[in-house]
Symmetry: C2
């Protein structure tokens, strides 16, 4: 990629990377690393020409004869799926951070390309926010995820998540409720439906937003592909919010990636009695992420200073805040229960009896204090 106008990748490079995508696993560090270093064309030539490959490289080389990348690209285009690669205008450059982020669960590296279905362009996801969490979420967690996603989305930042039950689903629903862009990153091909119950949602996202995968059309949702997928969610987004996650949840894998990639990692707390929140609490306690209480908090943490200031949650303005400092000083010295004479209130307030007498009369007119036979005490209003 040059700093000036991009010339864009060649057709040969696109075909080569499609080939690599068909023969190598998502997040395979060796195949991805070599493709990034040499380019797809040269890596492919190396695969074809080296007689003594081992491990993942050997497996990829062995698959070369089985795949027909031109036919796959044609087929993808027919089902509305495009293959976006580094150098394309649409390529999300932030994924480049994966080149130096190492591996987790033996997955890592910059994807050789992304298969995308839907009108939302991937280069629009620079400021996006990932909202992830437990599949076995609670009603509370779903509500929090939906609220956070709606506020984040309404601000113009796209929401990114998976397509699983629970928090993923609630996050998309929240973004959609705010008419906001939302992105599903899948562990299977972008044309596949997993879980089947989310067919309608995935159809909607592919039609109006975008569904993305590192795996080509038709690929199945293997367990290891979920781990590879999590790094793409974390890398695409500016920040990741974990809403609910039991200890050792997959969402914490995404959180690890976000931290490793120096993205903003956030978590929403929940009841200590809820197992679904334990992983988030553990994460927050370890200092790995920042506690957020709302979408506004998320925007404040992500935004440039002063751009999105979360409205400080505060109690209703107390009426007494509107009193003068002197009147408050007297009010603070008036007993809450057993009445006290003016003199003892003056001692407590550290003011003269005359000053206090005057202030008590005024406070009494405004309903803050009441006079009883034996002295003064706070009236109902002052308790507010």
């Amino acid at each position: 990629m040059s700093a000036g106008k991009r010339t864009g990748p060649t057709d040969a490079e696109r075909l080569a990377r499609a080939t690599v995508s068909l023969v190598a696993e998502p997040g395979d560090l060796r195949c991805l690393g070599l493709t990034q270093e040499l380019g797809g064309v040269a890596f492919l030539r190396a695969l074809q020409e080296h007689p003594d490959l081992a491990g993942a490289l050997a497996a990829a080389a062995a698959r070369l004869v089985e795949v027909d990348p031109e036919r796959e690209l044609d087929h993808a285009a027919r089902v509305g799926v495009r293959f976006v690669i580094p150098g394309d205008d649409e390529w999300p450059d932030q994924l480049g951070d994966l080149a130096h982020a190492g591996a987790l669960n033996e997955r890592g590296g910059v994807p050789v390309g992304l298969w995308a279905k839907g009108p939302l362009r991937l280069d629009q996801l620079d400021g996006s926010v990932a909202v992830v969490g437990a599949r076995a979420s609670t009603t509370y967690g779903d509500q929090v995820a939906g609220d956070v996603a709606a506020v984040v989305g309404a601000s113009g930042r796209p929401v990114v998540s998976g397509a699983a039950f629970g928090i993923d689903y609630a996050a998309h629903r929240g973004a959609l409720s705010a008419d906001a862009p939302t992105v599903a990153v899948l562990a299977c091909g972008p044309d596949r439906v997993y879980p089947a119950a989310h067919r309608e949602m995935l159809r909607h996202l592919a039609q109006h937003h975008v569904v993305v995968s590192e795996s080509p059309p038709g690929a199945s949702p293997f367990r290891i592909r979920f781990l590879a997928r999590n790094r793409v969610i974390a890398a695409l987004s500016r920040g990741t919010v974990v809403v609910e996650a039991a200890a050792r949840s997959g969402a914490l894998n995404t959180a690890n990636w976000a931290e490793r990639l120096h993205r903003v990692l956030m978590g929403t707390p929940g009841p200590l009695t809820s197992i679904a929140s334990q992983g988030v609490h553990q994460m927050l306690r370890s200092g790995a992420g920042t506690l957020v209480t709302s979408g506004e908090d998320v925007l404040e943490l992500l935004g440039t200073a002063g751009e999105h200031l979360a409205t400080e949650k505060r109690g209703p303005e107390r009426e007494r805040d509107r009193l003068t400092a002197g009147a408050r000083q007297v009010l603070d010295a008036v007993p809450v229960a057993r009445p006290a004479p003016t003199e003892s209130i003056a001692v407590v307030a550290g003011l003269s009896v005359q000053q206090v007498d005057q202030a008590l009369r005024e406070l009494s007119i405004e309903g803050y204090v009441e006079r009883l036979p034996v002295g003064w005490r706070l009236a109902e209003r002052a308790h507010a």
Copy 2:
């Protein structure tokens, strides 16, 4: 105080400090500061001899003629209340930190003495933990406060709190349930009962533990005395846990004192939907305190390294953790839904077909995978 054996304060000093306690307000920075600097005897002489005092000093001087400290000390002794002052063996030296902690709400300084009722000695509170929070607590908050206090108390650390409804009450109840020492610090005299509903609890604490106040017997619970009292709670304890606190709650005043005194400040999260937790979340979000999820977490933060290690909450050990790395690698490559042939699983796993075939047979015997006519997929057990 000398570094060697204490000689203890003189009777004259004790009488002088009792006098100051009777004429000055708790937390009055000028009276307390001068008493600490000059000693009670010299401060009293200054009060009596200076003709041109102003503000709180003038008010205190004016009250001198009204009080009879000898009679008050006698009366206190008769109702089982002792007056503990700096230099006494029982004096909690950690309160000295208040000398350099400034003021909040115009309250601050080292108390001239503490009025105490009950057998628990105040010099035993060095490692204590304050558990404070909202009066308008929720059932959830009460449960958390009780659990935290019980665990902290069972470890031998005394619990410190106020005597208010809600979290204070739940904290004492939790400590008592663990047969642990617990301390109520009051804003009124230690012989007074406020709120009246807690008569039984206060009686029990004064009989078996200790009830403490900066105010002498008979003193009323003025609003400003609660603010002064909060600094004593924070200063007595090694750490303060805020369990529930609405925005602008009084518990956050105690939290501010704990932070200012370089004590360990902690907070327990709750549902974002609960107003009672908003103040705690705000505190944690600002980085002022550390999130804790249990009494064990509190002990870990307070204890010397390795002394109290909170048991890491983790999911149940997954069965698959017991598999060999090779078997897990194959298992990770088996599809969750649509079956795949051995060859494609081998590609995903990056292993030879022979290796994978062998592993699949073993995994199948153990019930992790199942063979269908078209290939292999995960069995029920592997989803766990």
